[in-house]
Structures are given as C-alpha cells and as structure tokens.
Subunit: 232 residues, 2 copies
DNA sequence: CGCTATGTTGATCCATATCAATAAGTGTGG
DNA sequence: CCACACTTATTGATATGGATCAACATAGCG
C-alpha cells in the first residue's frame, strides 16, 4: 500500500500509540482500494478476513432479515469498522456498502490479532475503541426503546446541529431515506415527522435544515447526555 | 473478601488467564456483598467506581428517560457487568437493580484499569469480553429493528428452549412483565402475543411453556444465527 | 388469610406501516 | 442542453401493530 496514506491511518486513536515496527508490519500486509458507490464490501455472515478503515467517502452498515433491511450505522473518515468481528474471529454481523466513491484500507484480520498479542499499547487502544463502540450501541438502543420516532428525529436534529457547529441552520449528512432507516422508521413517516416538528420552528428544504425555536425544540426533545452525547 | 469465592471468580473467562499475583491484588481490593431483591445497585449517570460480578441471584440492567423505563439486559451468575464504563472511566449508561436476593462482588474500577495495563492476558480477556458484549447488543438491535413483537417473542422462545436443553417443554426465566420490557413491548401486548402463537401449538401456563408444533413455530419465527445464536 | 403486585382480557386510541399517486430531483445519453 | 428514465421525496388514504385505559383474576407473600 502507498506510504502516503500511512500518516492519516497512524493518526487514528487505534494506531497512534503502537510501536512503529508493529505499525509498519500491519501496513505491509494492508492494501488500499477505491470503490464506486453502492458496492457491497462485505455481507453479513461472511468470515471476518479484514479490518476496514475508511479513508474517504462513507460506508453504510446494514442488516437484513426476512426481506426487511435496516441501517445500523454509517462510517465516515477516518475510522475503522467491524473491529469486534476481527477480534473474535467471528462472522460479520452486518453488511457494509459504500454510499459514495470511497477509499478503503483493508488490513488482514490475522495480522491485527497477531500484533494485538504483542503490542500492549495497541491492545489498550483496541479496548478503548471497543468500549466506545459498545456504549454507542447501548445509547442507540435506549434511543430506540425509550423514544417515539418524532422524539428520535428531534434529538437527532439537535445532535447533528451540535456536530455542525451549533448554528440554527445546518445540513443533514444523510439521504433522507437512510436517515429514516437509521432512526428506525419508514421514509413516509420521516417525511411526516419533519412536518410534525414545524410547531417548533423547524424548516426543512432538501438537506438544509433550520431550527427556528431552539428552546421549544429542546423542551420537546429532552436531550439526555446518557443517550445523545457522543463523547460520553 | 472471603477467599472461598476466589475459585468461582477465577474461573470466569475474564480472570482465568491472568497472572496469579495480579488476581490476588484485584481480589484484595474487592468485597462481596449480599443484597435483598429490588435494590438499586447503581444509577445511570453515576461514575463507574466498581466492576460488578454477580455470584448468585440476578440483576436487571435498565434505563429511564422522560418517565419511561426499559430493561436492556439481565445479568445472571457468574458474569460481570458494566465493564465498558469501567474501562472508559465514564458514567454508567444503565441502572442496575437486583431481581432477587443476590451476592455481588465489587472490584474497584481503578484496580481493574491498573491491572489491565500490566497484565496482557487480562487485557486480552477484556477485549474478548467487550467484543462479545458489543456483538450481543448489535444482535439485539437487529432483533428490535427487523422484527415485529410477535416475531421477537417467537424467537425468544426458541432461544430459551435451546438454552433449557431443547425439549418441547421448558420454563421462562423472566417475570413476564420484564420479559415484555426486554422484548420492547408492554405486558398487555406480551399476553396477547402468547395467544397469537397458539396456532403454532404454544401452550403457556405461568412460567411453564410448551411448544406443540416445533416445525411450524420455526417456520414462523425464522431464527437466524446472526441474530439468535448467543455463541456467535 | 387478606394485601399487593402481577397477569389477563376487553375496548379504544394512537403511532406507524403500507399502499398508491404525484412531484421533484438526479444522472445519462442523444 | 434537453429529453428521458429512474430514484427519491412528499402527500393522501387506509390498515394495523401496539399502547393505553379500565376491569377483573390470580398468585405470591407477610
């Protein structure tokens, strides 16, 4: 793999503390690939041969059952995915597909496991990452089980607003169809949910969103750090 | 803490591979406590001072928001909980309460983190445990988002049947009210869902369940290893 | 024994899904 | 650059899963 990518990968939490020779050894076995949009990178149930790192573009993690499908998460640069399957050497629980043109690093899972065994800094970083992923899913679970779809949307908008800098106007970083799936509802229902937030001064035009009455929206959404704070 | 408990704790996946002196050191700081039923052990949002190990009894992990409450998991002997919060030194995302009279080991979180740093076998075990917990929540997420409540109940029954040995008759290990919460529905809806499975030969009497038509129930439930297999 | 919490059943309401039609983008090739 | 096809978004009408409210039965438990 071209060495030009090393620094950006090295800068990831997962790799920054590890021994240089170990990092080099990981990179030697890795390779970078460019994918067009809508390519299925992995399918659930397949053996976890590679740890993936998204360098650019974005990847949708989804799952299907009995003809239904749901988006579970979106991976954006620069971060890794399917770390847990790699560690446990178990089949992927989710499928992954590119949402746009994406550049992705593939690191053989066995190399990751081997280096994990000899580099305690790397091991520590993996633990931190896994614990964070775990907590992220728990938060999502609480969101799903404790809130109605309207409340989930309201809180999603507040989170997205914060990520975008906190201004009243910002943009959605999802196609609405997939936002609906992520939030656990149908596209039609999402469309109506946006309408349902109009009383709080919400204006939506395509991907542009503006929150007219911040205080009222927050009063309705009741955001909670133990569900909505992604740093926690 | 009384040394009589050491062997059963030591036998846990999490501790079995670690250095004996490190284990002793962990145990020195730990203590065992007996709790009556319905005691809240920890509240979400509190700092994660202790890693907990359930020796006997059972513990409900739940969460509340805006007056609603949901059960996220049940911890049974012998296993640990809130490992992720301990590792990240972050506030608990879930509350915990005893369901019955329970004996619980409390290990100071800072001791766990300290030993983690010096014992690579322990670190490895923690990673394995975290990865498994993560995968368990992902499966639960898929169950929630891809299935109706009737399908969730049917698959839960099949899982429970397998855990109980595979025979047609077995017992629920949940109070129905909490089973409903775990499955993401109301008690009334669960009651009706049991009725809804009668066409598949399901008979329920208190906590005793019997599956009359295994083949038909499976045909309806469509169990999937990537959702329902707890070893994966 | 009662008392209290749990479970069941029925009636009704509400949120969300589904089905169907239309509109609005978006990308492609002529 | 436009016309066309195709996907996505919206809107309306309707169906349905599941929640809520209320009454009653039942089972633990002191």
């Amino acid at each position: 793999m071209p060495e030009s990518h090393y620094p950006e990968i090295r800068a990831l939490n997962l790799f920054e503390g590890m021994d240089e020779t170990h990092f080099q050894s990981l990179m030697r076995g890795a390779y970078v690939q460019n994918f067009p949009p809508q390519i299925e990178l992995i399918g659930e149930g397949e053996p976890s041969d590679f740890l993936h790192v998204v360098l650019s573009g974005s990847v949708d993690l989804f799952s299907s059952w009995n003809g239904r499908e749901t988006s579970l998460a979106t991976v954006r640069p620069i971060s890794t995915f399917i770390l847990a399957a790699t560690i446990r050497n178990a089949p992927y629980l989710m499928s992954a597909r590119t949402l746009e043109k994406s550049r992705i690093v593939l690191i053989p899972s066995q190399d990751v496991r081997a280096i994990f065994d000899v580099d305690s800094n790397f091991a520590r970083a993996i633990v931190a990452e896994l614990a964070q992923c775990y907590r992220a899913v728990i938060k999502s679970q609480k969101d799903l089980k404790l809130r109605t779809s309207l409340e989930r949307l309201a809180n999603y908008l507040l989170r997205q607003q914060k990520r975008a800098g906190g201004g009243a106007a910002f943009e959605l970083d999802f196609e609405k169809r997939r936002l609906a799936s992520v939030l656990g509802m149908t596209p039609e229902n999402l469309s109506r949910a946006f309408k349902g937030l109009q009383p709080y001064g919400l204006i939506v035009d395509g991907i542009r969103v503006s929150i007219g009455n911040q205080a009222e929206l927050e009063k309705f959404a009741k955001p909670n750090p133990l569900i909505d704070d992604f740093t926690l």
